[in-house]
Structure formats: C-alpha cells, structure tokens
Symmetry: C2
Subunit: 507 residues, 2 copies
C-alpha cells in the first residue's frame, strides 16, 4: 500500500482535497534522471531565456491568484488577505531575480590579463566566472506556502542560477503543492525550459533519497531545528558532502531600553504583540523573546495588549500539539500571575489556539537559558524582565545564532545601543532599529540568515538578491582561447567585471 499525504483544513480539522500519494522509488529515480540529464541544458541557457522562465512563473502565479489563495487557505488557515500578500511577494521575489540576471554582476566575472613582469614569475591569462552547481533539492516550508514553498525563494534562486530543481513538498499542503508543481512545470514548458528543469516529489522517502543521491549537488531547507539538523548531518555524511542551506529556527530577541520603554510604552507593547501574533506567530522572524526593563511596567502593557480572546488556527496538527506542549513547558518556568495561558479549545474542532505569554525575571532566564530559549512555534512570547540596561547587555550575550535582533532605544541611548549592536552583530543576520523583525523586505541588501542554529550556513541568505550565490561556484579558465570561453568571460562580453583588479562598469 502506498502512503499518502492528506491535507486538512486547520479551521475544521477536516480533510481537504484528495490524498496525494507519496512518490514511489521509481518516480523519484525518474525525476533524478531527468534533472541530471537536464543539468547542462539548464545551465547553458542564456540569461535572457532564464529570465523568460521566471517571468512566466510569476505571470502564472498572478493569473491563478484567486484559486491558489483559496486552495492555500483551505490547507493552511493562513487567511486570504495574508496569502494574497504572500503570493504578490512571491511574484516580486521572482521578478527580483529577473533583475539580478539582467544585471549580470552575480556572475562575479574577473579577468586578469597575462603579465610577463609578475613576481615571482610571469602570469598567464586567468578568467573566473560563477557557474551553476547542478541539480538542487529544495525542502518546502509549512508556514509560507508560496514564498518558501514549491515556488519559493529557494526554487526561484536555484533556477535563476541555472540549476534544475527537485522540490520535496511539505506534507501540510499536498494539494497546493501538486497544483503549484503543475503550474510551474507548465509555465516553464511554455517558456521553453528543458524537460527536467523542475519537478515536485512527495513524502519522506523522497526527502531521504534526495539528500543522499550523488546527482543532487546542493540542498535548501526551511523548517525545524531537528529536521534541518538531521538533513544537514546526512548531507555532511555523504561520500561527497554537499552544501546544505538550512534555515532552522530563531529566537529573534528584542531589546527594549529603559528610555524607550518610558517614552513609547504603549506603542512598543502594541508593536510587539502585533509582530508576535502576525501569521499566528508562525513566522521564522517572530520576536519570540522580548527583553524589557523590569521597572518600566512594559510586561504588564504587553500582557494587556495580547488579544487573548481571539483564537487563531495553527498550520497543522503537529504544530498545534507542539505549540501547546511548548507553551506549557515555558509557562512552568514563570510565576502564574504574569502569564497568559492558551485558551482551552479542546472541544473546538480544528487546530485553534490563542496567543500566550510567560514573564520571567532575567535571573530565571539566565539559569534556565537552554530550556527557555527553545523556540515555541506559534503565537507564544517570552518576556524577560531585566534589572537594568547593563543587565540587558548581559542577557544579549546569552543568545546563540538568530536570524534577527531588534533594538528599541532612544537617541539618548547612544552608548547602550552601540553595546547592544556589538553583541547582536556577532549573533544575528539582521539588526532592526525601532521596528519589528517580521516582514522581510525582498531587496538586494536583505540578509535572511544567521549563525547556527538560525541557519546552517551564516554566509548565505535565503531572501534577497544574493540568495542566488548559494547555487554557484567559481571556475577559472587559464589561457583558454576566446572561442572556448564561457560567454561572459569573452572580451566581447559587456557583463560587469573586474579586469586586472579594476572594476569595469557594465556597458
């Protein structure tokens, strides 16, 4: 009997759509053969062709927006409004890579002409360009069915780089994954992409096969620390280890100075709660821990701002269970009078819960750091009360790698802010000033990554223009005649390049 994936409506707990069979061994092998056989056809397409693929995908997503949002909502309970924004963001991110390809700077072209006078010996002509790695496996995430899903940033940046992509779908939204897979395959075919450039596989066996198969040259993953670490270990244990770009989990701490708490108490409390509960707290940049001045009364304001009365559906049964267990564990560390416990909704069908909060003293947080810094995926916030601004800096030193770190401070906090920045710059991929970490702008400069355990590769990002770098490696060509050089290394190329160390603007 073939195992199947069955989506469920988080609002009712009822099945959605027909069961999707797990990909069997023969389907997985065929997809691998096709991806491998397609690798050179994919990598040798012109940047204009690849841009046409991306535009085709973006157009298909826009065209089917309404269906896709409805289907995604039925399997995720995220809500049509947020899903529409996410779909638009997914189109924007696809179009960003059209710009990246048109720019050509990502190719990192460097040309050094021969130098007969070089020390210690004459040097030959050396030219370097970044080339695609080959087939990439992408593990889709549960919480962003579009932006980090089948057709999310990992898939799009790998395709833009010139790599075939095999997606392992997330079991939480199988019908949407099938639909998106078909849409992308059709859009690629219409745009003239080679057969095998893209496919979607389902089920655990697919994931385990992909991470170990010699034809897969890199992996990209967004999900849990335990799942991501297990895949990372498998990638590293291969006879030929491959790069595995995993985004695993993050506390995203927020630091509030005394001055900021005095000046903007209500605004900060409301801003924090809005960021904490956005997308039912199921965002990788959710500010899970906020450090507040004890004397400020800010924890009380946060507690008051928390819309405890509003139940929200979580993505799936597993997350629902983990959320309640995680919240229970964290609440045990906190005095009950400061806490907000999740409502008991056990008689309500579906995966509903309510936002919750624990407030602990910084001394408790310090003593039980390993337990209290466990990510609780969902709308749970931990408020840590600090004795002083110095204590705030001390607590900052406890954190392991995070995607983001946020500071709320006033102009008068210059010295304190600089100290906090120094701690955060060592620990996070993005520092936010007087704002909130949720809402990751899809731009050239965005860094969505961070030291382990936030990600497995802190030098890379999964959002923004430089996400394409993950799927490339440099090859140098020494004394190779023009007619055999890759297009962008020839003298006739107008790609931006560095020649003998000097940057030449594109023309």
């Amino acid at each position: 009997m073939t195992a199947t994936l069955q989506g469920h409506n988080p609002r009712t707990g009822q099945p959605v759509g027909v069961p999707v069979p797990d990909s069997d061994a023969s389907t997985i092998e065929k997809a691998l053969v096709r991806a491998w056989d397609a690798r050179r056809a994919v990598s040798s397409t012109s940047l204009e062709q690849r841009s046409a693929w991306l535009r085709g995908i973006s157009a298909a997503l826009s065209e089917h927006r309404q269906d896709l949002v409805e289907l995604a909502d039925s399997e995720t309970g995220i809500g049509a409004g947020r899903l529409e924004m996410e779909l638009e963001r997914t189109c924007v991110q696809t179009e960003l890579f059209v710009q990246v390809l048109a720019d050509r700077g990502y190719l990192g072209v460097m040309i050094d002409h021969p130098d007969p006078d070089a020390r210690p010996v004459a040097r030959p002509d050396v030219r370097r360009v970044l080339q695609p790695l080959g087939p990439v496996a992408v593990w889709a995430a549960s919480n962003f069915p579009f932006a980090f899903g089948v057709v999310g940033g990992d898939t799009i940046s790998a395709l833009a780089a010139g790599c075939p992509v095999l997606v392992k779908s997330h079991p939480s939204h199988p019908s949407l994954s099938v639909r998106l897979g078909q849409l992308v395959r059709d859009a690629l075919e219409d745009a003239g992409a080679p057969q095998g450039a893209f496919d979607v596989l389902h089920g655990d066996e697919a994931g385990l096969t992909l991470i170990a198969d010699a034809r897969i040259r890199a992996g990209a993953f967004t999900g849990s620390l335990s799942g991501g670490r297990a895949l990372l270990d498998k990638a590293n244990a291969r006879p030929d280890p491959i790069p595995f770009f995993g985004e695993l989990g993050s506390n995203n701490p927020v630091f509030i100075t005394s001055a900021a708490a005095i000046e903007r108490k209500g605004e900060i409390a409301e801003g924090f709660v809005a960021s904490l509960t956005l997308g039912s707290g199921q965002l990788c940049t959710k500010p899970g821990i906020v450090l507040v001045p004890k004397a400020s009364g800010l924890s009380e304001s946060i507690k008051k701002a928390l819309p405890a009365e509003l139940p929200v559906p979580l993505l799936n049964e597993r997350i629902h269970t983990s959320y309640r267990e995680g919240a229970k564990r964290l609440l045990e560390a906190a005095p009950p009078d400061g806490s907000v416990v999740p409502a008991d909704l056990s008689d309500k069908p579906g995966f509903w819960t309510t936002p919750a909060l624990a407030v602990v003293d910084s001394s408790v947080f310090r003593d039980q750091f390993a337990a209290l810094s466990q990510e609780c995926f969902g709308p749970f916030g931990l408020v840590v009360e600090c004795a002083s601004d110095d204590d705030l800096v001390d607590v900052a030193r406890l954190f392991r790698g995070c995607l983001t770190g946020t500071i709320h401070a006033e102009e008068t906090d210059r010295v304190l802010a600089a100290r906090l920045m120094e701690e955060l710059a060592e620990r996070v991929g993005r520092i936010i000033w007087n704002g909130w970490p949720t809402g990751v702008a899809v731009t050239w400069a965005m860094q969505h990554g961070g030291p382990y355990p936030a990600t497995t590769s802190s030098a890379t990002t999964s959002v923004g223009a430089t996400a394409i770098n993950r799927f490339l490696r440099p090859v140098a060509y020494q004394s190779v005649p023009q007619f055999l050089l890759p297009e962008h290394l020839r003298d006739t190329s107008k790609a931006p390049r560095r020649v003998n160390g000097t940057v030449i603007a594109p023309s």
Copy 2:
C-alpha cells in the same frame, strides 16, 4: 613527559634544530582566550590599519629572507631556489590583500533606501556589509612551508578579513614554524595589532582542541584527504557546525588530443615531466594522471623524458613511505615494460627517491578507477592510453572533483575541446589550456578549489583575492541611524557599493 616535534633534514634523515614541545592544554587554552578576547579589537580596526599589519608581515619576510630560506630548506629539502620563489610569492600574496582592502569591494556593501511604494508593502532602509566571523584556525601544510604555512594564504586572508588566527603548525617543519610565528607576532605587534590577533600552536592535541572549540568560528586546512575529512567531520559534528575550508587532494588530469600529440609530442612530453616532477611532485596541482592517445607513442616519449637517474628528497619520512607504497600499488596495475619504477635507494640516508611512472590502458583505468585514481603524493605519474578522442572524453567522465583539469589540443580540435571543457567545467576549479597546472598565479581571478574531494567547499578558493570571502558573513542593518552603522554602510562612505540595485563606483 611532553611530546615534542622534531624536524629532520630530508637529505640526511638527521634531526634539525631543537625539539619543539607540543603545546600543552594550558597553552592552547590561553591562546584561545587571547584570540577570543581580541576578536572585536581585530575586527574593528580600520582597513588602513590591517593593511599596515600585512605590509609589516611582508617586510619582515623579505628582511629575513635568507635565514628563512635556509631554515626551510634544512627541514624540507625543497631547495633554496624554489623556496626563494615561494617566499616572494608569499609576500606578493600578502600584498594582494593590501590591494583587496584598499579596494573595499570585498565588503559587498549593498544599500536599499526606503521605498514607500514597494510591493506588497512599503520597505524600510536595509544595508548589508560583510563582517568577520571571529577566530579562525589554520592547519599549515607540509609542502609549501611559506605560501601555505604559518604565514600562508589562509592566515593572511583571515587576518585581512579581520579575524584572529591560530595556526596549528605542520609537524614536518617545527623550527621554521616557531621562527615564522615569532616573526609574524613581532611584525603584528610593531604594526600595532592587538595582542591575540595571531599565534602558533604545535601538536595533535592543539589541532583536535581547535576544531572542537566554540571560540573557533572557521577552519582552513591544506593536506591529505584522510586528515582533511577527519577534521571536516569534526567541524560538522559540533553542536554549532562551523565552515571548514579544506583542500584535500586532486588528480589534476591532463587530456592530450591526437592532433596535439602529433603536432607537439616532444614538447608535451617534456612539459608534462617538468610539471610532474616540480617540487619533487609534492604540489597540490601536480598533474598526477595524463590521458594520451595510444597510437601517438606519447607515453614512450614521456618515459624517455623522465629523469629517472636524478634522486630527489621528499618532505618527510611519512611522505617517503607513502610514496613508495603508493607507487608500488599503482605499478602493479601496469605492464612492467611501460613502467619506470622508483630507484632502490634504501642504503642512502634521508628521504630520497626518484620519479616513477606507470602506463595503463584506458580499459584498465576504467576497471580499476577507484584504486588508480588514488593520489600518490610525490613524483609519480600515471599515463592512461586512450583508444581514440572519444575515449578521452569518456575517461574524463570518470573523474571526481579536482583542483585543475588541463587540455592540450590544436585549433582543429574545436568540437572535441568543447566536449572536454564541458566535462571539466563540472569537475574542476581551474581549466588550463595548452599549459600545465603547477604554478598557481596569485591574482584576483584565480580559483584554487574544486568539487569534493579536491576541497570541502567548492564555492571558495584558498588562492587569489576572493580567498578573503571565506572568513566573512553578511549582516543587514534595518532602519539603523547613521551614527550606529558600521563605517562602510554610512552615507558618507566612499566604498564601492550597490544602491537600490545599481552599482556605484568607488570615489
């Protein structure tokens, strides 16, 4: 009793200098504390200051050239001529990073201004810059006591990036390592670098401690496949895995087309032998395997060109033993009439040997690929006779990752050469046309890396300007006021940068 390292003169087998004690646990811990405590002082120095450190190191090496070369020769037997060139190359590579710092492009500055009209929502100010990872451990190599040693490219590029460096010395030249360590520490101190920016440790315990210690944020290694893989596995098994940039070993195959063999038989045979035996064949880019047209008689010419009569000293006893064992194993696969066996020099003191060669048919090579593609470190070459140019392309498909791949072909070989290039571009980091892989130019465009097992990280290089990238990671600053931004992200910075996606030339 403390273990010690004792250098030996490869020409005599006699001890050189005094024994160098292994670093004990307390010495290792002190060095780690100093490096960790120095990390912010090192990373926050200006690029001008760091350039002054590098210039100081280069000047010290030049000033002590004669001593250093003598000492290195006594422990390595490499010969004064080659060591002088290597020392000069080490200075050149140190000075290249002075240029890289002055250029500032390596910082990868990107600035996106706020955009109220961005889709799907307004976007904030986001600025990205690359920042140093923190303390780096460097494992020095045996075969380039300067260029890949205590003060080699790994050390220099990590220091240039703003990372403190702890070197684990190579046991083959302890006296030189101590001397270089002192020289670099003094040069850094004279140039005003913070205490703890650099140190050298000795012995296996130091290496094992460094790879596992939480204060070490990256490792760089040049050495054997087995040693490198063991360290890679340790780096990956940490609670917080760190990047480990290892260069492990490479066949560096050379492909000779029929047309080239006819046109330039003698020249190719001599060129191959010169490259094979350069540095007694102890170069990571040694062309270990050459694929020749069977009908051309090129293997006979290579055999004749091999200076079997000239004994050369190998670096140390271990390499000497491995060379003879490896050569024996490879020679067993070949018919004896085509082979050149190493001379029996068992009555000669020291680590002497002679170049050797095995000639096998491509069918044998194909059948016994795993055994015959084992790197034999030293002046051993494997000549593979191919039945046709098609066979040449087929054999190319056997190879795993290599540092280099070389093609000797004529203008008339356009189609064949393009097919070979296609195979090599997937497998190597540098493709050489009608030349030889030894002699790695230290330039902006150089790529010295390749897919596993050539290196552990094919997206990086250990030679050339982009070697600095290994020790950096991006951090994005969102809505951070000017006075708190890192220097190169401020509006007043003149560093080269990309603003709203457009490259702004430096000014």
